[in-house]
């Protein structure tokens, strides 16, 4: 089978050496050649010096998950050399810097090893230690450009966009590209069978990371207060929001900023600020990761019980505790669903890619105000920090924020008495008022026991009326949250149920399984509480694989707690290494269960 537009390149470098720009350059030039491409960054929790990898998957079929194999390794880091060599698939290639001898390379005869004296060439052509290090990385991009047959003009065009304000850098970067490119053309069999050929499959698409997309969603959703405490991998969401606001929200005449961007002293304060601003009529949000959610628990319970909107982005990373801050997992599902002491349940949205991050950010702001409750958007490091190819984001100019049941001055004036927690409409959502509008609308927000009239209470009946009404509101939420996405063909009684960023690996797995004669249906749940279609899908299948990225089957636990599904029907496929889930993991897991035992071995290796 042809490997044109269908292979994976992995680049091993040292953190802080500027390899990110070389890698982005490579990926983007493939994307601009019309070929579906994925880029994933496996980086350390470190500023400089530790090993880092970048994986580029080129897929003419449009499969954007981690493939699980490496066809071409660029081994630039001596420290990880021996393991990088081992990772190359048989028949694959390894490019290394031959400035220094690498006897360890001789360990494999089933791959092609290509040495280019990158450091030597750069040392001869550039001055300054830092420049030489940076250019060495651009230089390997030149080697790859020759090996993969990338269009040099496209690379120049990308550099010109990146360095629009420093044109002299375009020339020096192109010089480094040419060094690598020329060396490869003269010494290696260019292009390799793993090569790129122009296609037309990326029109109408963009390459964007989920944090940037979520930040854009907050801008378009009309958020004006953003408070946060820095934590990987959520920080880039806040940086992006500030960047977009600086571009679009500054008054041209006065210089006034139509947003407040507050770096809090910790996550407890960050969520407090969001709650305070929301209570006072702004759309406000914070972004954090698991450790931050732990700290926010108390305030989330207050916002749930006092019924105050708040939007929280949880860009999940590996736990428990500090865990591995720069690796990905879906390990906060339980923590977010039931955050805080007492009977609490929170609305959660589960985007699967940056496109959904954008739309769900705006939707979360609407839901939080409509439902007067915290809404959590559970993204993860893989979605948030990697560039994903997704459909171009669109905005409907007819959109207006849904501010929910907020009474204005005239409406308050007409009331005999304002009763904050009374269910007037039968949907469990009470009316609210904002400070500064009308003295008759004043109410007292509190986390202590309160009656439906908004007064303090220690009376059992009065307390229970409010608590039960909150459940009614929960049922209303079920109707308002995004529905599951179901991909089902009649006849199959086997299903995959999953969540968030497992999506692309599952789609690829479904195609592979179909090729092997195994038809599997698929439901991707997008919200908590679970929409009504979730229950129906679970009931309609004999066997269900619950695919998720944590050790303890948290999503499966949520399904068993919150639906009527029989536990015995559920099989967990749990991936929690910290790397994004691959399609092969899912294919193997499904086949191991569904194939008759004697056939299993043959089919799995077919």
């Amino acid at each position: 089978m042809s490997r044109t537009n269908d292979f994976t390149v992995k680049i091993a470098t040292v953190n802080g050496t500027g390899s990110a720009s070389a890698n982005t350059l490579l990926m983007k030039s493939i994307f601009r050649s019309g070929i579906p491409v994925m880029g994933k960054n496996y980086f350390p929790s470190n500023i400089q010096g530790l090993p880092t990898w970048y994986e580029i998957r080129v897929s003419r079929e449009g499969h954007l998950a981690r493939s699980g194999t490496v066809d071409l390794m660029v081994a630039m880091n001596a420290e990880t050399y021996s393991r990088d060599v081992k990772e190359v698939a048989p028949g694959g290639y390894l490019v290394y810097d031959s400035t220094w001898p690498r006897p360890a390379l001789l360990g494999r005869s089933d791959i092609t090893v290509l040495g280019a004296p990158l450091a030597k060439m750069c040392n001869e052509s550039f001055n300054g230690v830092r420049t030489r290090i940076l250019m060495k990385n651009i230089c390997y991009a030149g080697v790859l450009a020759a090996l993969l047959d990338l269009d040099l003009e496209r690379i120049r065009e990308l550099l010109a966009e990146t360095y629009a304000k420093k044109p002299q850098l375009v020339d020096s970067n192109m010089k480094a590209i040419a060094l690598g490119h020329d060396y490869a053309r003269q010494n290696f069999p260019c292009p390799l069978p793993l090569k790129v050929e122009r296609m037309d499959r990326t029109g109408g698409h963009i390459m964007i990371d989920g944090n940037t997309a979520a930040a854009l969603g907050c801008v378009f959703g009309g958020a004006t207060v953003a408070a946060w405490y820095p934590i990987t991998p959520s920080t880039s969401l806040m940086d992006a929001f500030k960047g977009f606001c600086d571009r679009t929200r500054v008054d041209a005449q006065t210089g006034a900023k139509r947003f407040a961007f507050i770096q809090a002293e910790d996550e407890l304060a960050a969520i407090g600020m969001v709650i305070g601003a929301s209570w006072n009529g702004c759309r406000a949000f914070t972004a954090t990761s698991g450790p931050g959610i732990s700290l926010m628990n108390e305030f989330l319970g207050l916002a749930y019980y006092a019924e105050i909107p708040a939007v929280v982005f949880d860009i999940q990373r590996v736990g428990p505790s500090t865990g591995m801050p720069t690796r990905t997992q879906q390990c906060d599902l339980m923590e977010c669903a039931y955050a805080s002491h007492g009977d609490t349940r929170h609305v959660c949205l589960y985007p699967a890619n940056p496109e959904e991050c954008f739309y769900m950010a705006a939707q979360a702001l609407d839901l939080a105000e409509r439902l007067e409750t915290p809404v959590m958007v559970l993204s993860d490091l893989d979605i948030g920090m990697n560039d994903w190819m997704c459909r171009e984001l669109k905005w409907d100019d007819a959109y207006r924020p849904d501010r929910g049941k907020v009474l204005d001055r005239a409406q308050i004036e007409k009331l005999e008495k304002f009763q904050r927690y009374l269910d007037k409409d039968g949907d469990g959502i009470p009316y609210r008022t904002l400070p500064g509008v009308h003295p008759k609308g004043a109410w007292f927000a509190r986390g202590s026991g309160h009656s439906q009239y908004g007064t303090y209470t220690e009376d059992s009946t009065e307390y229970q009326i409010v608590l039960d009404r909150l459940l009614k509101k929960w049922d209303t939420a079920r109707k308002l949250v995004p529905r599951a996405i179901i991909d089902a063909t009649p006849g199959s009684d086997i299903g995959i149920v999953s969540i968030g960023s497992c999506d692309s690996a599952i789609h690829e797995a479904l195609a592979i399984l179909k090729g092997r004669g195994v038809g599997v249906n698929y439901m991707r749940v997008r919200s908590f509480p679970f929409s009504e279609d979730v229950e129906r899908f679970l009931a309609a299948h004999r066997l269900l694989f619950v695919v998720e990225q944590n050790r303890d089957a948290q999503f499966r636990a949520l399904l068993t707690l919150e639906t009527a599904v029989e536990k015995s029907k559920l099989r967990s496929l749990l991936h929690y290494s910290g790397l994004p889930i691959s399609s092969s993991f899912i294919v193997e897991g499904v086949l191991a269960e569904v194939l008759p035992k004697p056939q299993r071995k043959d089919a799995a290796s077919a």
């Binding site: 139509r258 305070g276 984001l393 959109y399 904002l434 008759k440 927000a445």
Partner: protein, 357 residues
């Protein structure tokens, strides 16, 4: 109980402020604190100050954390929104609320536990941001609702109701606020309404963070011999070990003193809270001098009171910008900006996305 409505009888001769409102219009629900609690005097002082300042009740925002003091936000200005948040976290609620609407008047009421223990971090950072609010600490050196543990403002050598002696040095909110660059720092006593009301009025008017640390003795848990934050009033029949839950009826204590005099607020026995009125040579715009004087008096067990430091307009040496000035937000409150000026629209989106193609 806060859910019992106060009877509202308006006599035509009651004085009215500029808005035509009487003092009653600035009151709230009935207090559920112990009779004679210093906090109720502070509530009365806030009512008086808001009435005198003729604030529109709906423009008053009342914020608090958890504790006896934090309950009091329900007891004044019922026409203003209140937010009784979580323990020690009121400043963050105030920060968000203030960010959303800079035109309202924010009054935070907290206690020494709420501010100096669990909420020390948020307190410090609200000062650093110079958040435009009045922050009142009702300081009694003790945890009341949990029955008498020392707070972080308890003095070395002071005795708890059950006899335990405190050996840990206190955190003084006034010195701390000055160190952190607060722009308005005052100390007062709940029994001195004449001093307190004008201070609250000044604090309400101050642009930026105004701190008033109000010594407010706890009649139930810190009013015994050996306590340094006491009215020092113990009835003869009162037995602390047996009658811990018995709350004796009290009347309020008032103190008056002239300039330059120091005064012990001691009613019966060994209470050693000393108040000292500012002398004429004191310059409340000199942060260094103010800090030195407060510290010097604390060493001898005396509390200097009054408006101790003020930087009214950010013009003092090392003067401070207020939160919104730092953020560059518009004069118009953020919560009133129309969506049209917030969204870049579909065309704006297309422009933004150019670099992601």
């Amino acid at each position: 109980m806060t859910f019992i409505a106060k009877p509202k009888v308006v006599h035509p001769s009651l004085p009215r402020n500029a808005l035509g409102l009487i003092r009653r219009d600035y009151e709230g629900a009935l207090s559920t604190l112990c009779a004679g609690c210093g906090h109720d005097s502070i509530t009365a002082a806030i009512v008086e100050a808001c009435w005198r300042q003729a604030l529109e009740p709906q423009n008053v925002v009342k914020l608090s954390g958890i504790g006896c003091s934090s309950k009091t936000t329900a007891y004044f200005v019922s026409g203003g929104h209140g937010f009784n948040s979580v323990h020690g976290r009121m400043p963050s609620i105030a920060t968000g609320a203030n960010a959303a609407n800079r035109r309202l008047t924010y009054i935070g009421v907290s206690g020494d536990g709420d501010t100096l223990s669990i909420g020390l971090g948020q307190f410090c950072h609200a000062i650093r941001r110079n958040l435009d609010m009045l922050y009142i600490i009702e300081n009694n050196g003790v945890y009341g609702l949990t029955k008498g543990q020392f707070s972080a403002s308890a003095d070395v050598g002071t005795k708890a109701k059950k006899g335990e002696t405190n050996f840990q040095p206190p955190i003084d909110p006034v010195l701390l606020a000055m160190t952190l660059g607060a722009s308005f720092v005052a100390r007062s006593f709940s029994g001195d309404k004449q001093q307190l009301v004008p201070l609250i009025e000044a604090g309400l008017r101050h642009r930026g963070f105004a701190l008033i640390d109000v010594l407010s003795p706890c009649v139930t848990f810190n009013d015994h011999e050996g306590s340094t934050k006491s009215y020092a009033y113990t009835r003869e029949h009162y037995e602390p070990a047996v009658q811990a839950d018995f709350v004796p009826p009290e009347r309020e204590i008032t103190a008056e003193y002239g300039a330059g005099e120091s005064l012990a607020v001691t009613m019966h026995d060994g209470s050693r809270i000393m108040l000292r009125k500012l002398d004429e040579a004191y310059d409340p715009t000199d942060r260094g001098m103010a800090q030195a004087r407060v510290q010097e008096r604390l060493k001898s067990g005396e509390y200097l009171t009054g408006l101790l430091y003020v930087d009214a307009d950010g013009s003092a040496e090392g003067g401070r910008r207020e939160f919104h000035q730092i953020n560059g937000t518009p004069e118009e409150p953020l919560n009133s900006l129309p969506y049209e000026v917030l969204s870049p629209g579909s065309q704006g989106l297309a422009k933004i996305l150019a670099r992601y193609r």
